[in-house]
């Protein structure tokens, strides 16, 4: 836990690279963590071939959820949308550089992925039940 507030996290929290709103967008989804009130929205622009060309997040939350959102967005730019569907808990921990997170903070870290997946699945299937696999 001691390295929870490493430079990377604090920097991304204070000066995120991918904060913003995309208008228009192809996909947009927003969700919150009812426990702490953290709220994240992710907007995507997707090319014909399914490649994510632009992405941004907005909302508010703790350093962990905000840094996770920023790093997640960075990691999916230029990737096919199908790859996003395969992302999971371990990918987020890897992005943040954590071996593990406690049961409370893992929810903060996974909120951006939960939002992203809901958006991506929502586009094709309108099936938000898929979310449950992450939480």
């Amino acid at each position: 836990m001691d390295d929870l507030y490493r430079e990377l996290i604090i920097e991304r929290y204070k000066m995120p690279h991918h904060r913003g709103i995309l208008e228009p967008h192809d996909i947009s989804f927003e969700d919150e963590n009812p426990l702490c009130g953290d709220r994240i929205r992710i907007d995507l622009r997707v090319a014909e071939d399914g490649t994510i060309t632009e992405a941004a997040f907005s909302g508010h939350g703790c350093a962990i959820s905000q840094a996770a959102a920023d790093l997640l967005i960075e990691s999916i730019l230029g990737k096919p949308i199908e790859e996003v569907k395969a992302l999971g808990r371990q990918d987020i921990l890897d992005l943040l550089g954590f071996e593990e997170l406690g049961p409370v903070r893992i929810k903060c870290a996974l909120l951006p992925l939960k939002v992203l997946k809901a958006g991506v699945y929502g586009l094709r299937h309108h099936d938000s039940e898929i979310l449950s696999e992450e939480s």
Binding site: K14, C36, G37, D38, H60, C62, A63
Partner: protein, 414 residues
Amino acid sequence: MAAETYKIFDITKIRADFPILQREIRAGVKLVYLDSTATAQKPLAVIEAMDRYYRWSNANIHRGVHTLGEEATTLYEAARQRVAKFIHACKAQEIVFTRNTTEAINLVAYSWGRSQLKAGDLIILTEMEHHSNLVPWQILAAEKGLRLEFVPVTGDGYLDLEVYDRLLEQHPRLVAFTHMSNVLGTINPVREMTEKAHRAGALVMVDGAQSVPHLHVDVQALGVDFLAFSAHKMLGPTGIGVLYARETLLEQMPPFLGGGDMIKRVELRTFTPNEIPHKFEAGTPAIAEAVGLEAAIAYLESVGMEAIEAHERGLIAYALERLAEVPGLKVYGPAANHRGGVASFVMEGVHPHDVAQILDREGIAVRAGHHCAMPLHQKLGAVATTRASFYLYNTYEEVDRLIEALHKVRAIFG
């Protein structure tokens, strides 16, 4: 009063009674527990009373004629007596054991509210309520077509009593509000508000979850009709709470949950309810927990509620003074002389969860979030806050450690 009682308050001795306070959160970092508003720590006397009960007297109550059954029944009913005396109820029958404050409030809503209220009736609540004193009324209002109105919270954390007076002119049936805010620490003028409500023809239900553990509460002096509180916030175990209600009200209220112990007689299609308070206690209750609550009250009384209140007033005054030293820190709520030992704050540019997380590294337990009071946080314009709260076992040195740690948070986030 404060200065005199404070002198007889031996904090070292008190702390020695709470085993958990000896714990180190990390090697060399001792626990500083500043989250008693969420739940209080337990003195050895409570832990041992429950242990003794299970080792020596455990049995179901109001049933067996055997020795253990009689002992368990006696202990359970002695706890009820103790609670009644502690809050100055007229009779032990006015004490109903529930699971917690939330269930006690739900009992009032479902039993009294459902049987006594009709479409168009008004309930007055306040903006500083915990969700437990909002949602049961929202559910009931939707079911019965009731109206809900809310006493606003002023910028400095008080209830707006002028608006309260105007709302009373609309002839509410019930006024339900918290004695002490779990976020702001505001101690509301229960007696004054109750008198006014009664003059307007309304009954009064007070959420005492934060007040009963920390203040001397006298239901007769306050004049309230219902009072709800939880054992676990007053040094007792989780799983047991209390509803106090005036005898005449309990007599007219229908049962809440149905089952064993709440009946006098059951036939296949009908039942005759038991006498009060048993009519509201269906099924095997939390017996060991009642024993624990009894021990907790005995402990609180041995220290003295006035002494506890004085100690906490000193602590919160000192804490507010020192919190003001931390750059970019905003503390919500009223002045120290109008609040209990609760301080909720936000640090500019740092999310409350991050504050709490870094404090935890320093061994300091605080709560971050909306503290089950989302409407109040909306009113304050804060998504969440970090909350430090104090009890009889907290010290001035612990306040110093909180301040030091907050400076560290500031340093990390720049």
